[in-house]
Amino acid sequence: MGENLFTGIAAWLSALLNAAGVPLIANDIILMVVKFVAILVFILVNVLWLVYMERKVSAYIQCRIGPNRVGPKGLLQTVADIGKLLSKEIIIPRLSDKIVFLLAPVLIFVPPLMIMVVVPWGRDMAAVNMNIGVFYFLALASLSTLIFWMGGWSSYNKYSLVGAMRVVAQMVSYELPLVLALLGVIMLTGTLNMNTIIEAQRHTWFIFAQPLAFLIYFIAGVSETNRTPFDLVEGESEIIAGPYTEYSGMGYAMFMLAEYANVMLVSIMCTVMFLGGWLAPFGWTFIPSWFWFFIKVYVMIFIFMWIRWTYPRIRVDQLMGFGWKVLVPLSLANIFVTGVGMYIYRAIGW
């Protein structure tokens, strides 16, 4: 029940277009556009919800109630916030590089949205079933660094510049353990296709086969999304808001919303690589596969928020030291152990 809800809609639309005599290539293009728009809407609605959820989680952890005035239970709070931010003036500093300055908040949403296209939301529910999906994900995820740097550099502000330099330093150094942690899973499955990786977890989720890799990936993921305890990029007490300092109105909001889109991305990747993607645990297939995926992603997101509101921010030297002296050697060791283990298992003949 509900399992084929979305694939059914896609098949129905395709059949409808076919019956209307639309040529096959146009049929495919229309279907693709519909899928992309659906993903776009899904992501934007989720991002709005995540801002609300973050505020609620933080409030509950701090013994408060959180937003509860706008709409039922405060659900429309984010909508009101966005409405307010849209109506505000976008102030452009006189000496800033105006084109780059205005381009950065526009581009910031592009990498997350491009990545979402290859995500398998459920059984046969990837908009594009790419056989180098993981590679595509990693390649595009590191593009965000460039856009943060654009914003920080063009603002002509020392806080923005320091923040942007921190973004680049942090994201580049944590990209390495992130990729190396995923390498363990890729070695086990021998593929970069997300669907095949999920299928390979039918019996054991890779969080049990590769617990260290999961931990490294998770920590590096928190760092990649610039969230506490690695939110040096926007360390309010030191550099105001980092690369976002000079942005106002919707420009600022885009950066903030992109942060939540990135949180979602990292959670999705965690789900796909380590938590069995859309596979139902314990054979509970009465819940549709896409809903399992959704639940797992939201559990991961909740853990991200929980961590954010628990730990204090660490120092820059601690961040770099932890990244290069702990995470990178650990992830290399993980790859080594995985490789050796695979040969041993093969020799035993499992």
Binding site: Y60, I61, Q62, C63, R64, I65, I307, W309, T310, Y311
Partner: protein
Amino acid sequence: MFGQGLIKGLQVTWHEMFKKKVTVQYPEEHAPLAARYHGRFQLDADKCIACGMCANACPNKVIQITKEKVGKKQYLTKYVMRIEYCLFCGLCVESCPKDAIAFSHIINMNQFYRDKVRLVLVDRPAPESLPEGEAAEPDAGGAAAGKAARVQQAARAQAAAGKAADKEGE
């Protein structure tokens, strides 16, 4: 074990999530005020003997008293507090020999216009003559008159409170 503190921190925040929330939803609920809370002033005009000790005690010259002589006694005709200068120290309340001026629990004194902020506690014309025997030994009739006056005063205070609660002013 390494990372024990991190786990402990997560446990603390997890338990915190299910605790009773401390937020008081202000316009609907009110946090209880202490009995001695320094709120809006209230004046029992019947008790007031217009001695002016409160005005003398006030460090900011907030209190302005106008009085007239009726018969042998001083009669309070106007009691105005320029509340925008008041620091709610309570020296006037302490200095009052008859406990006529006191703090109430009304905390909403905001006004839209500055000239509405001024707190007029009493504004009345002086009577031709005071009723007989009202002050020293109140007999039955006097008590009744006093009661009537007190009811009137309460109504006035209520009206003033209503005006204070109205944010927009007139």
